[in-house]
């Protein structure tokens, strides 16, 4: 099992999705709480970059 699978297995997904915002620099998702992630440049796909 990979890191992402391990991480996902720790989550309680019984929450509804209240809001999603995709900004230039950040992405935010509101479920039980608000979570952030860095937005990634448009058009880039996994496998075409290494870092």
């Amino acid at each position: 099992m990979g890191i992402l699978d391990d991480l996902m297995s720790t989550l309680d997904v019984s929450a509804s999705v209240e809001d999603i915002r995709v900004g230039m620099f950040h992405t935010a998702v509101l479920t039980r709480r608000c979570g952030l992630a860095a937005s990634m440049p448009r058009g880039m796909r996994c496998g075409k970059i290494r870092l």
Partner: protein, 191 residues
Amino acid sequence: MREPGFLTDRSTEELVRLACSDSLLEAAVGMATINSLLEVDLDGCVELNAAELILQKGEGRNVAVVGHFPFLPQVREKAQRLWVIEKNPQAGDFPEAVADALIPQADVVAMTGTALTNHTLEHLLALCSPRAYVMLLGDTAPLSPVFFEYGVDAVCGTVVIDSEMALRCVSQGATFRQIRGTKRLALEKQG
């Protein structure tokens, strides 16, 4: 992004699975969903930003940083050597092609949490020396002890303390330094 405008109709589980998507936009939604669901052990975290921890661990040592972070000039002053590895290198940075050669030489390795979004984290971790102090950092980095099983020593991430403010900042193009309603925390491996 598939089905923009209808993402909130999808289940939380579906959004979590987007973290595995080949589309970086979708994978970012997946990572943000993971961070929204994570039960962060706040008592196990310390209020410390990534720059402070890198300066603490990297003084007089060889430091590799994957991603161009704003605090790097301070690290450059303290570290013996600093290698900044960046996909779009700025002056003094190294291109990603040399990551495989530089990371194994580093005593301290700090890598951006976006390595989860683009699915390169496992490769980067495999490059780290077993003796290296390894950090995962940035808003994407989930404050989870799961990473300690994979050789990470500390996660420097973000928790949102004011959702309304954070959402507004995201919508209005806030950068890493501009976003408000958040707290920067570090979770360090014990023992």
